[in-house]
């Protein structure tokens, strides 16, 4: 599903060269729930941004669903994100002026293969799944952090993407809401066989992941369940 080969990302801060990613090579199978863990500054978010086509690598290649995304034009990347990828942000990143329903429907509204009825039905279905159907006409500011993050997940899911990326989605949530969000990811993964790549620094999250890779200084230092080098079966 995802193939990363010798991925590097270099930043220049004045005269200092920072290697945010230093030769990451990785394969992620379809339906895998992968956790990317590591300390702050280890390169987790940078890797996720590369995979989510939010940033360009300095070198190396990424194949998403057999597409070499490095060769896509700006517009093709946008369409790839719209049709194939879903993204959940740490701070929910909902459009504050849109209702829950409008936020969730937004990516679907841009798809050329969806009519109005289908958009409504898909959005309603996903809102039911996250248990926020009764809050669909509310604005994000009228919801709790946990509810906002569930809306953010619903928005990422509405187009039924092949891959879902989540950048520390529980960072701003208490443990109860965090568990609710992680359970939701697990359900989505099991029900739709969705590939999920999630960045986390919370050790207790690893029980939800099929597989965990740990990064340090931009390099993969371990790859397996609970970080012991063994891949999930």
């Amino acid at each position: 599903m995802i193939r990363i080969d010798n991925l590097k990302k270099l930043y220049h801060m004045g005269t200092v060269e920072v290697r945010a990613l230093d030769g990451v090579t990785l394969d992620i199978a379809k339906g895998e729930f992968l956790g990317i863990m590591g300390a702050s500054g280890s390169g987790k978010t940078t890797l996720l941004h590369m995979l989510g086509l939010l940033d360009e690598p300095s070198s190396g290649s990424i194949l998403l669903d057999n597409t070499d995304v490095g060769k896509l034009t700006d517009y093709e990347k946008t369409m790839f994100r719209l049709y194939k990828l879903g993204y959940v942000f740490q701070d929910y990143a909902l459009v504050p002026d849109l209702t829950v329903m409008e936020n969730v429907s937004l990516p679907a509204m841009l798809r050329k293969d969806r009519d109005e009825e289908q958009i409504k039905a898909d959005s309603y279905e996903i809102l039911q799944k996250i248990g926020l159907c009764d809050r669909r006409d509310h604005l994000p500011r009228e919801l709790s952090g946990g509810q906002q993050q569930r809306v953010s997940i619903a928005r990422a899911m509405v187009n039924k993407p092949d891959i879902l990326f989540a950048d520390e989605p529980c960072a701003n949530l208490d443990s109860e809401n965090s568990r609710m969000v992680l359970e939701l990811f697990r359900e989505i993964n099991e029900e739709f066989r969705q590939t999920i790549v999630m960045v986390s620094h919370e050790d207790w999250h690893k029980e939800y992941f099929h597989r965990i890779i740990r990064l340090k200084d931009g390099k993969v230092v371990s790859d397996g369940v609970n970080g012991n080098g063994e891949k999930a079966g």
């Binding site: 989510g52 517009y75 849109l98 409008e102 937004l106 509204m109 798809r111």
Partner: protein, 404 residues
């Protein structure tokens, strides 16, 4: 850019205006409304002054076409035949002669030199609305003799001392009073004031009018000549058409339209008005453009992270750009709408309370075309001012935008 993308851009724009900072939207709309008013008010006022002057020149000076004496001659001669010829032409409503003579007027202790105009009161009614401007007494009858109507500034005000007057007057003449007229030919006559009028047009208000037959007594012979003839066109007939017709029929006189006369007398003034209008328009457009540019720039800078997020979830940059474009379009349309209402209200107020000077009076004169032209100019300026920052920010890469 498909229909779906435009629909999403419009939805984002509408929701941002509906649920975003209302005070910012109201303030921006208000600024656009004020800019529109600023753009249209001054030219409207100048047009009003111009139109007021034209109307008053037509009403109290020359009608639509003026037939003066030929070059080298003092008067338009063979008057009755000339009037019959002109009045018989298609498009001519009525032609009426004017003959002026200077006179010294004496009333109690006051002495005043004025121009006494002889008119044919019946015909004059077709050409000039003077008869509707009587503030006291009544208008001249066709065969009145020994009676005069005088302008209010000439009549004066008894409560104002001579040294405090804006212009010299007879110091408070009332209807029924007697004024002694001394003409340069030695003819002296006492006239009873039949009426006092006020038109608001200085040149007319500083005259006194007597009937044609009265002036014949002054001249001591039948008055078959005139200083000039004023011609009123029937509705729908062009001044130029009447002029051409008069020339074609060989009317013995120097024929000029109101337009010809205004071009000579007011050409420079109207040119100055046009320059001021243009400057006012340019300033208005620049202010609007700059203000909207600043407003949208601030808005986009404040929304950079959100723009990054939108791009991250697959919203194309064109949709983001049009989102801000639509916001500007909606605000510009609202601003123009309120600007039109504001200007129309000012127009109504000025129609009821015209700006009156001793020389002329004016109201706001705006045609639908003035509204449309200014609205379009402002609209396009607003769209440009909105789209430039929106274009810039929509091109920013996701990482830079999201880090903002």
């Amino acid at each position: 850019m498909g229909k779906k993308e435009l629909k999403v851009a419009f939805l984002l724009a509408l929701r941002s205006l509906q649920r975003g900072s209302r005070s910012s939207v109201v303030l921006t709309v208000l600024i656009i409304a004020m800019c529109f008013t600023n753009m249209i008010f001054l030219p409207g006022l100048f047009n009003g002054i111009g139109q007021g002057i034209i109307t008053q020149v037509v009403d109290y000076e020359v009608g639509n076409v003026l037939v003066g004496s030929k070059t080298g001659e003092q008067y338009v001669t063979d008057l009755d035949a000339t009037l019959d010829l002109i009045n018989g032409m298609p498009g001519v409503d009525r032609a009426t002669p004017h003959f002026s003579k200077g006179a010294t007027l004496k009333y109690r202790q006051r002495v005043l030199g004025v121009s006494v105009k002889a008119i044919k009161p019946g015909d004059e009614k077709f050409v000039s609305p003077l008869y509707t401007k009587m503030v006291a007494g009544s208008y001249l009858g066709e065969d009145d003799t020994g009676e005069v109507i005088i302008g209010q500034p000439v009549a004066g005000d008894a409560t104002i001392k001579a040294e405090d007057e804006f212009q010299a007057s007879l110091g408070g003449v009332r209807v029924g009073d007697s004024i002694t007229f001394e003409y340069p030919n030695g003819y002296t006559k006492d006239y009873r004031v039949k009426g006092i009028y006020f038109t608001g047009w200085s040149s007319a208000d500083n005259n006194v009018f007597v009937s044609w037959s009265d002036m014949e007594q002054v001249e001591g012979k039948p008055l078959d000549y005139a200083d000039y003839i004023t011609v009123k066109a029937k509705p729908g007939y062009d001044e130029k058409f009447i002029k051409d017709e008069l020339l074609q029929y060989g009317v013995p006189g120097y024929v000029q339209t109101t337009g010809d006369l205004l071009e000579k007398s007011m050409g420079k003034v109207l040119q100055s008005f046009a320059i001021i209008n243009m400057v006012s328009l340019i300033v208005g457009v620049i202010i609007t453009t700059v203000v909207l540019f600043i407003v949208i720039t601030i808005k986009t800078i404040n929304s950079r992270r959100q723009i990054g997020i939108l791009k991250a979830i697959g919203v194309d940059k064109e949709v983001i750009m049009h989102n801000y474009g639509f916001q500007v379009i909606i605000m510009a349309l609202l601003g123009i709408f309120f600007g039109v209402i504001l200007t129309a209200l000012m127009g109504v107020y000025l129609a009821a309370n015209p700006i009156v000077t001793p020389e002329w009076s004016a109201t706001l004169y705006l045609t639908p075309m003035d509204y449309i032209t200014n609205a379009l100019i402002l609209f396009f300026a607003a769209v440009v001012a909105g789209y430039v920052p929106a274009y810039q920010v929509s091109r920013e890469d996701i990482q830079t935008a999201m880090r903002a």
